[in-house]
Subunit: 186 residues, 2 copies
Amino acid sequence: MKYCIECGSEKVALEIPEGDNRERFVCQACSYIHYQNPRMICGTIPVFEDKILLCRRAIEPRKGYWTLPAGFMENGETIEEASVRETYEEALAVSVKPQLYSIFSLPHINQVHIFYKCDIKDGKFGAGTETLESALFSLDEIPWDELSFRTVIQCIKHYIEDVKTGVFPVRSESLLLPPQELEEHK
Amino acid sequence: MKYCIECGSEKVALEIPEGDNRERFVCQACSYIHYQNPRMICGTIPVFEDKILLCRRAIEPRKGYWTLPAGFMENGETIEEASVRETYEEALAVSVKPQLYSIFSLPHINQVHIFYKCDIKDGKFGAGTETLESALFSLDEIPWDELSFRTVIQCIKHYIEDVKTGVFPVRSESLLLPPQELEEHK
């Protein structure tokens, strides 16, 4: 936080505003408080004929790794709309029957990741601009060592577990870093 | 958006950045893109001996109306931690066995509201600084006409429905405004 968004002053300092209990970036010139809040990443685990669709990332971070289609939720949309939109943008796949599935809190990076489970309309997919290629993987072919993010790994593990019973409860989980890695992350 | 947070320039304009498909506030001086994303409100529906705990709001909006304890999720916490923290801050109640319960998308105000169901430790509660008073209500005493927000009303309705079966599935719902009200809202 370098300049005040409200008055353009350079005098922005971390302090606890009156009546608050946390440090915020407060403008010393106009008193404007700049709140910062976690962001949501929404996506899907797209399923077609016992296989799941993965996309190989064309962009950093984790360029070249396989991922589930997902991205930042935008203003003006619902979590379901965001998940369905990202599935189309990244995998050119139309989501059918999207169903809320996994929610992950990642407090060390101020993010919440939300995945829907969905079918793929007509089994059609492709590669959007942020994707090198997309492919369907059967559950015993998942490229575990080439997956992009921990939430993607966890979501696929949930799915493999739940597909045995055919029941897909909504799961909520916190992915915390072990203390030493948290230290490095700071 | 009046000034660039990165360079302090007043030349901030709405435009679609290269490779993007939405308007963002982009600084014409330094090219910094100011992304804006939905925010999360986390809270609980606290239960004690077949009653639920409501708080009467001491602050705007909806000052004087009854609400479930909830507030903006902060950086560095999980959705469960945020929900439990808000329950203590607003109702001085310690959450026991918090369980993810209802998720509401409110695209017209760029918010997602998340409620956990929890018990109240030792049945103890009080009023935090943002609360005029707290009270337990049995399910046939809910002050429907004096409730604060639509998501609070919906969450309580879910609970009344689910308590009959004793099964409390995670529910996800979008609360959209009818077209004419959306127009007024803009």
